[in-house]
């Protein structure tokens, strides 16, 4: 009797396994988005950690001087680690690798409220500084971890590439990371723009940069057509990139339509109009039949 029951349980278990396995496999396929084991283990919670690690990069960028949940939080897009000024002007920084920054509105700490707070500030960073020069590399581990946890978080690739290709002068690593981002986000025009910058600014390859900006424009238009409302500012950046690549290649025939497209969306159409007139004048001055 016991043997019969055991056999029945075994057969029941086997049948149940054959029934459930395809359904579980289907579930796994839905969860799988390139992060494999991590995705299976953490599920959607990994996105929270990815965001937190990205913020941690900003904490490091400020050398620990950072608001907590008890202070006024910053919106992600306003985080200083996304800054667009510093890579262009790496300049000389103090030996500490920290460049002092102005604190808007007196900083998040404000004046101390009591003697405990006043005394406690001796034991924590209280100066607003940004990492400078090679020290900026300290933020990279957090960006790497953030991308590992959430490969669809495009901002992580852009920020890492910005510092790698700019201040750190590591365009190869920037390109590799961006291509990794493209594999996870093939429709991202933002990554194509950043990749265009790598080829334009670092590799001095305007032809390749132009191709990448064209791809970015194509992706932007697709998203716009699908009603996803891509950032209009990104379109200006793309067209600006195309114009710059045309200028570097001295491709005046291509430059003219690109400038006209830029004029239609630029916040400074008058300045672009001047460039259009100048380009027309150059084109008119060219002897006929001369190759561009």
């Amino acid at each position: 009797m016991i043997q019969l029951v055991l056999t029945l349980v075994f057969v029941g278990g086997f049948t149940l396994a054959t029934f459930l396995d395809p359904r579980l496999q289907a579930l796994r396929a839905r969860a799988d988005d390139g992060t494999g084991f991590v995705a299976a283990l953490m599920g959607d919670s990994r996105r929270l950690f990815a965001n937190q690690f990205f913020v941690e990069a900003d904490v490091y960028f400020h050398s620990g001087y950072y608001p907590t949940i008890f202070d006024t939080p910053e919106a992600e897009e306003t985080l200083d680690v996304n800054s667009k000024e510093e890579a262009e002007t790496p300049g000389a920084a103090p030996a500490s690798g920290r460049r002092p920054e102005k604190d808007e509105g007196g900083g998040f700490l404000g004046p101390p409220r009591d003697w405990v707070e006043r005394f406690g500030r001796h034991f924590m960073p209280t100066q607003h500084t940004h990492l400078a020069n090679g020290k900026v590399a300290e933020i990279l581990p957090w960006l790497r971890l953030s991308a590992d946890l959430d490969p669809h978080r495009i901002q992580t690739y852009l920020t890492a590439s910005y510092w790698l290709r700019g201040t750190l002068n590591q365009p190869d690593e920037a390109e590799q990371f961006l291509r990794e981002g493209l594999r996870a986000n093939p429709d991202s025009f933002e990554i194509y723009i950043e990749l265009g910058y790598v080829f334009d600014y670092n590799r001095k390859n305007p032809r390749m940069a132009r191709n990448l900006f064209e791809l970015a424009l194509d992706k932007w238009k697709k998203q716009d057509g699908a009603g996803l409302k891509p950032s209009p500012k990104a379109r200006v950046e793309i067209l600006d990139g195309l114009v710059r690549a045309d200028e570097e290649q001295n491709d005046l025939k291509q430059l003219l339509p690109d400038l006209e497209a830029l004029k239609a969306v630029s916040p400074f159409p008058d300045a672009v109009e001047k460039d259009i007139q100048a380009t027309r004048a150059k084109l008119a001055a060219q002897p006929p039949g001369r190759p561009d």
Binding site: Y60, S63, G64, T68, F70, S96, G97, R113, D114, V116, E117, F119, G120, H122, F123, M124, P125, G134, A137, E138, L140, P141, W142, R144, A160, L164, L168, Q170, E173, F177
Partner: protein
Amino acid sequence: MNNVMALAGVVIKEMYRRKDFYVLFVMTALITLLLGAMRFFDNAGIVRFLKEICLVLIWISTLVIAVTTAARQIPAERESRTIFPLLAKPVRRWELVAGKFAGCWLACVITLVVFYSFFGIITASREQAWPGMIFFQAVWLHAVFLAVVVALVLLGSVVFTAQSSNATICLIVVVGILYVGRYLNRVADGLRGIGGDIVYALYFAIPHLEWYDIHNLLVNDWNGIDWVTMSGATLYGALYTGFLLLAAWMIFRHKALTV
């Protein structure tokens, strides 16, 4: 004083006979070395990430060692009934409390020296520079922090019956102070009426253990703290340690020792 030092010696011997310290140290070293072997974007100059992880592990390990070591001292003596011959020696009750405290704290300081030596070696090898004054200040402030924690746990061990509950409650209190203690005044501002007053009173009454955690300064290579502030923090820690030990002795003095 001899009695106090003799009792302290026993506690220190007990610590190096137990496996807690070795397990936690090996785990810390292993995790740090594994992370140290990682390369991010082919950049060899990245070190703060490693320093932070190593320091977090050191803080967790030393806190666990301090709490578990201190929590079992008096209850273990009572359960094994060795407290009777000990007090019959004669050792006074204040000497027992002081001896247990001195033993636990010195054991923690030895642990700290080992952990921070490892941290210093790892940091120096990666940064190609010896740690500055802030490193030694971090060790000292950590030691003062552990003195307050050990005193708090000893007080708990004469208040609570089970050592597990004492250890758990003390861990929650210490971690709570470390993370929220600094902001209780702001929380109090947001509360109205008597609730706000209670939180404000709590803010001034608790030992501000978060002052002793300067890992943010150490990781990010900030300058050292001035010596007047260091002395102030040491005095503040010593006062709280003294107060907690006094309270532990006062309760222990009137406590029946039967299990």
